[in-house]
């Protein structure tokens, strides 16, 4: 019996503690027109660490809100914070802060200060969730912060047609931030949709980045990041990634990036990375590769691009396997003679070989670089002669007797049929 009573005390104590837990968690400060607090700044100033500031619907004309203690700010019934173009709106200078469900708008373009809707300065464990940010210079700006989560936000700037690069900020801007998760955000109408510089070991997934003036995604010196299921659409110059190693890009969609200097994906000095199961559709250039080495480019879909891949001669040891190339004006083009790159088991819709042993792999090698694509690379105006009979004739003669096109850029075992990744797993396994 003694044992039991001891247990009872223990259980009771636990229950009491559990009941008290919300108290320890902090109190709730309400902000609305008829509440104790009518301004957010007031409530934040009064809040103690661990408190929750609950903002009810309405428009709050405020800016310069500094959050310097670990609190949670939650918006309910869609409260709007209007900065009236007077300056930065929310600045976070404490760890463990959560900002959720707010609409923040109106920040002026400033060339001396990078004013943002939400800025986090040298902190960690910040959560920015489900906010709507409109008409701001920078949207969400994190500097020197770790372990943050940016999720479900909508950052919409303005119509960027005809605007100058320097007159626009980035929607989500991270600088020296490790272990960040950026997911389910929608960003548009800024300079870069998502900008990462010195951001390592982070995860970027399920974002939609469109109609930005420069890049949908732009990162530099950001190693070991994972990018999955993002959509980059109709950005001025597509997606640019530079000076980075060990990244994984999977199941992303790059589409409709058109213009004189537009790319689906621009790779510059990227190494040891994996690019898989992505879709490149209707871009001027699907992938542009410069000085990129040891990339594994596999099972991607290249559909109706001007150039599917532009492989500069500074790229070495890249492998292209099991990709589908359909309806591209040029499959692969190059400016010289890139070496040690491997093309294998890709499907090319321009392939005209045969398959005698019925193993679904063509018996004749396919050369994805055409003579004409090399000519266009050297003399751009000759693009006007595309689909001319003379050009077709030249290409066909060159295919029979290759003398100008790079000898080692060849798919020795092209696929006879388009690879269907959902139904044809068996085949891809066999080929693997």
């Amino acid at each position: 019996m003694r044992d039991l009573s001891k247990h009872t005390t223990f259980i009771l104590a636990t229950l009491v503690l559990l009941l008290l837990a919300p108290l320890a968690y902090g109190s709730t400060l309400r902000v609305c027109e008829s509440c104790e607090y009518t301004s957010i700044r007031q409530a934040v100033a009064k809040a103690k660490p661990g408190d929750t500031v609950l903002i009810d619907g309405g428009v709050y004309q405020e800016h310069g809100i500094e959050i310097n203690k670990p609190i949670t700010i939650v918006g309910r019934n869609n409260p709007v914070i209007d900065g009236n173009f007077k300056g930065q709106i929310v600045t976070v200078t404490a760890d463990n802060v959560t900002i959720e469900g707010l609409t923040i708008k109106n920040i002026a373009t400033s060339y001396t200060r990078d004013d943002a809707a939400i800025r986090v300065i040298e902190r960690s464990n910040i959560r920015i969730l489900n906010n709507t940010i409109q008409k701001t210079y920078f949207g969400i700006y994190l500097q020197n912060s770790e372990n943050c989560v940016i999720k479900g936000n909508t950052v919409i700037g303005q119509d960027v047609t005809g605007l100058n690069e320097s007159a626009l900020g980035n929607a989500i801007h991270l600088w020296y931030c490790d272990n960040t998760v950026i997911s389910n955000n929608r960003v548009e109408g800024h300079r870069d949709g998502i900008y990462l510089e010195f951001v390592k070991d982070s995860e970027i997934k399920d974002n939609l980045s469109q109609a930005n003036q420069r890049y949908g995604l732009h990162f530099m010196f950001s190693d070991r990041n994972v990018y999955t299921h993002n959509i980059f659409r109709k950005n001025g110059a597509g997606v640019a990634v530079m000076y980075t190693k060990g990244i994984r890009m999977e199941h992303n969609t790059f589409e409709g990036n058109w213009g004189a200097a537009a790319y689906g994906l621009l790779l510059k000095e990227i190494s040891n990375s994996v690019i898989r199961n992505n879709t490149f559709r209707r871009n001027t250039t699907g992938i542009y590769m410069e000085s990129s080495s040891r990339l594994d480019i596999k099972q991607n879909e290249f559909d109706r691009n001007g150039w599917a891949i532009r492989l500069l001669s500074s790229c070495i040891q890249d492998t292209f396997r099991l990709n589908n190339f359909t309806g591209n004006s040029f499959d692969v083009s190059t400016n010289g003679n890139p070496t040690m790159n491997l093309f294998e088991h890709n499907y090319w819709d321009k392939y005209s070989g045969y398959d005698l042993d019925k193993d679904r792999i063509g018996d004749v090698p396919y050369r994805p670089v055409s003579l004409y694509s090399m000519l266009v690379e050297q003399v751009p105006p000759s693009v006007m002669f595309m689909r001319s009979f003379m050009v077709d004739l030249m290409d066909n003669i060159e295919k029979v007797l290759p003398s100008f096109i790079p000898e080692n850029l060849v798919d020795e075992q092209p696929m006879m049929r388009k690879i269907d990744y959902d139904n044809d797993r068996k085949l891809t396994q066999v080929v693997r």
């Binding site: 209707r282 001007g306 150039w307 591209n328 004006s329 003399v379 006007m384 009979f389």
Partner: protein, 255 residues
């Protein structure tokens, strides 16, 4: 004049070659549309067909027809009829029936399977090319009285416009690649009706590739409605120049 035109028309239709031409085009375009699945791709293949076979057939058929109806024309010239009228009705008869065949053979499938602005441009281009090459054929035929020579000249003309011209221009571009050639290329393409027609269709078709580099420039120059009108105007000029000059030769020369 209407009577002569009617007679020329009947004569051509009785010939059955135009009928065969219509069937050939019809089968080919229906086949292409059913084969590819993608109407864009079919229009692309049709473009190659239009730019290669339509000029060839137009020029060869028109030349042989002209020589074959030489006696008929001599008979007409003996009557009190203006030579210009005889020539015009001959021209309209041949060009009209050939472009009618083209509209039936290519236009119907395009309307059925891939009706779009690109398809419309393709049709207009084909009709213009028919008229242009029939005019060239007549020019070749009035230059010389010898049938073999005339057909030879016609074939050479086709060879030049469909093949050699592009080769020469590409060679020029390659040789002078250090210079800004954008506008020069544009001017050079206007000197060949086949290239002109190809570019009008291409600007709607290979949009992605043309958005890069110089393509973007051409797109901005040629992409607007105004410049499409201008391009078709140039094609009209290409009809008029050989037609008027051959009519001049025909009405002045001693038959």
């Amino acid at each position: 004049m209407n009577k002569i035109l009617k007679y020329v028309f009947y004569d051509i239709i009785r010939n059955k070659i135009v009928l065969a031409y219509t069937l050939f085009l019809l089968l080919l375009s229906i086949g292409l549309f059913n084969l590819g699945g993608n109407p864009d791709k079919a229009i692309l293949s049709l473009l190659n067909l239009v730019l290669l076979t339509v000029p060839l057939i137009s020029i060869v058929f028109a030349t042989t027809h002209f020589y074959n109806s030489y006696e008929f024309m001599e008979l007409l010239v003996a009557q009190p009829i203006n030579r210009k009228k005889i020539f015009l009705s001959e021209y309209l008869g041949v060009a009209g029936s050939l472009s009618g065949a083209f509209v039936l053979g290519v236009g119907m499938p395009v309307l059925l399977f891939g009706a779009s602005l690109t398809g419309l441009y393709l049709l207009l281009t084909g009709i213009f090319i028919t008229f242009i090459f029939v005019a060239m054929a007549f020019l070749a035929s009035v230059i010389t009285r010898d049938k073999a020579k005339g057909i030879g000249i016609a074939l050479l003309l086709w060879f030049y416009f469909a093949l050699i011209y592009d080769g020469i221009v590409l060679f020029i571009l390659y040789t002078f690649s250090d210079y800004p050639l954008e506008n020069a290329t544009l001017a050079l393409t206007a000197l060949n009706p086949v290239d002109l027609g190809r570019i009008i269709v291409l600007l709607n078709l290979d949009v992605s590739a043309l958005m890069g580099y110089t393509g973007a420039l051409y797109k901005s120059i040629l992409g607007s409605l105004w410049s499409v009108v201008l391009a078709f105007g140039l094609l009209l000029l290409w009809v008029l120049v050989p037609f008027v000059s051959s009519r001049r030769i025909f009405s002045r020369r001693d038959l």
